[in-house]
Symmetry: none
Subunit: 414 residues, 2 copies
């Protein structure tokens, strides 16, 4: 079964607002074995709304509208769905009575325009709204000879979520054919998306019943596997089997086999080994520390470190000899090594990390261009230093440097 | 003129990912006087993609597709647009040569599947991609007797944004009818959205020709003003006049009158006063440092500091006396004060900031609950310490703590 979600509201067509309701609806529909094939965001113009609903009726089995059920003149979803389906609307007197009772209980006056929320599309079932005044509606109907389920739901998340979970799920479960969806998320660091795909496409292409999606973001690769079967264990076995084969192919590039973040994995390994970590960051300016401390419980393995943006602080906090800075420069293999060793010693940790580089856009030279980054990882025995030349803007260079630092710690712990 | 944005990628139809690219595109289209009427999010299935493009061609004048231009077999936007328009595609040999040159410069091997990115739709103009391998394409064409502008753009924001700003804007400006839109962005910190709106609504409601939108995100309020007039100076005078009146009402809550970020403003004030700053972060774990160092040139005023996650490091790096930690606890007014004073002294800066608190979800007690945060700001004369009790989850508490720290520095400098 395929679904389309229509998010209604002109504010979501500005540069500043986004639809977020659809994420919850998608999660729940997936649990029912329904795949979301389209999302449409449309404003409050009647013509556009009818167009959006018609397009959805044409291409999806389940249509969920979110928003536009309120009392104002801009709330037109009911009218648009009725017009697209060519059916009528009737004002429900019981609902109006209920609204007045509810307002009286809350000692509020009910303004007349609220009555509009009692307009029910012919043939629709009313979905009670426990957290607001606009009820939802559900239609089990036909369009161009095909069966269609249409749900009209309110926009505020505090109304939408309980309504979907408590009223829609059970109704949909009764109505829809039984399907179960299993998912797996693998993650890999610092491999180009195209290289990753070239390596794993020959594997996942063989299994056409599993939907494989690769996402890449700033040095982080996420491989999503999704499979729908009549029984959950069948679906789970399929995605697990594909996950194993992808892990085998990508080997130690895969840092997570259950969707954990790289910082979670680093902290997990640290704790498993009873190890502690400290970090001296120059060009990343706190990104590595911020990522690690975003995880609750990180203080068990991560003690902290220093942001050594100035040369003085590189010496003051991480004990980099001024002679090293003078001879090799702040951005050098030697400084990265001294940062890693120095911060490890000062913080008395099992591992120490030092990051120094040129994030740009200014500050680069022919010899030391923007994007040049040195990262050192030190333990009691050795210090490994890598040199990287990242391309892109300041955001990208800093993100890649932090990602590389975390991945080097992971590899050191493996 | 009306536009539809089509965001392409199955990952955006999962519960985990959202289209965000369309916000930037919307902002730029609005500046050209183009209104976004629909957004469609569609996956990688060829049939669905063609359907989405056809719907857009039917109902919009400007169609912008984002994503699906990469080298993998899932990247099908080119094919879908060509099929919807019923035109052909040709592989461009110059683009292929350029790709091999680019790969050679970066000492990377170019895998064969990249060549697909050189497929150009008949009649399309090539939009150079300065930050990635997939070029964009722009078509000035007709569909069902109406003129249509179709833009195919890459999905990664680091490629999309510069391409739109540097290549699409000038081309669209030449092509589209002249309209003038003036905008202003005011920003305020740490005021509730509803309180802000209650104070400024009586002002902006009087000026119906200006569109006012208030956005709130983690302690940051953004007030967007937009006005469209036949001449730019007329539109600009209108938004400037409203901006002045809002600034008057909100007074020093407004930190930016031209859309700058709080960290930009803090660095601006520091430089103006010839002052320097250091930070000792516990619960924020590097967010304050990371925000400051995200700005190019921040090293002129921000020297760095320490991530003092463990008690030992609070003493080691910021000189907090162990007796203070023992007597008052790591999360206390006294520790925040000692952190601010100690880091200022150790880093030899004009100002020092100390942040300590309980970010949760664990670690809270009846006396010191999750969300309790102390922030100290110290200069050569005084140290101010504030106590805050933030609600919400770990992300929210850390973000509010960092926002408050930066705003306190701003106020100290004012």
């Amino acid at each position: 079964m395929n679904a389309e979600i229509i998010a209604v509201g002109s504010e979501m067509l500005t540069p500043w607002r986004q639809d977020t309701d659809s994420l919850h609806v998608t999660e729940r529909l997936n649990q029912l074995g329904v795949t979301v094939r389209f999302k449409t965001i449309v404003g409050d113009r009647p013509k556009d709304l009818v167009d959006a609903v018609r397009s959805a009726l044409r291409r999806a089995d389940v249509i969920v509208t979110v928003g536009g059920l309120g009392p104002t003149e801009d709330d037109l979803t009911r009218e648009a769905v009725a017009e697209a389906l060519k059916v009528g609307i009737k004002r429900n007197p019981e609902l109006i009575a209920h609204m007045y009772t509810r307002a009286a209980q809350r000692r509020a006056t009910m303004s007349r325009n609220n009555e509009k929320q009692a307009d029910i599309i012919e043939g629709a079932e009313i979905l009670e709204n426990m957290n607001g005044s606009a009820p939802g509606q559900m239609l089990d109907t036909a369009y161009a000879g095909h069966r269609k389920l249409v749900l009209l739901l309110p926009g505020p998340p505090s109304e939408l979520k309980p309504m979907f979970d408590e009223q829609c799920m059970s109704r949909l479960r009764e109505t829809l054919p039984k399907r179960h969806i299993a998912t797996r998320v693998l993650k890999a660091a610092l491999i180009a998306e195209s290289v990753c795909d070239a390596r794993i496409a020959p594997i996942y292409k063989q299994l056409s019943d599993i939907e494989t999606t690769i996402l890449a973001h700033l040095g982080d690769i996420q491989i999503n596997l999704m499979c729908s079967k009549p029984a959950l264990d069948l679906a789970q076995a399929r995605v697990d089997s594909l996950a194993s084969r992808i892990e085998e192919e990508l080997d130690d590039l895969v840092y997570s086999s259950q969707g954990e973040t790289l910082e979670q994995i680093v902290l997990y390994y640290l704790e498993m080994k009873g190890a502690t970590l400290s970090v001296a960051e120059s060009c990343t300016g706190g990104i590595v520390s911020e990522r690690l401390t975003s995880i609750s419980g990180s203080s068990r393995s991560f003690v902290g470190g220093a942001i050594v943006y100035s040369n003085e602080l590189k010496s003051e906090f991480a004990g980099v000899p001024p002679s090293v800075l003078e001879r090799y420069g702040a951005v050098s293999k030697e400084t990265a090594q001294a940062l890693a060793e120095g911060i490890r010693e000062r913080c008395d940790t099992t591992l120490g990390v030092g990051v120094t580089g040129i994030a740009g856009p200014s500050g680069g030279t022919a010899e030391k261009p923007v994007g040049l980054v040195y990262i050192g990882v030190s333990d009691s025995k050795t210090t490994d230093v890598v040199e990287r030349r990242f391309s892109g803007d300041r955001i990208r260079i800093r993100a890649y440097a932090a990602q590389t630092a975390l991945d080097l710690v992971r590899r050191k712990l493996m």
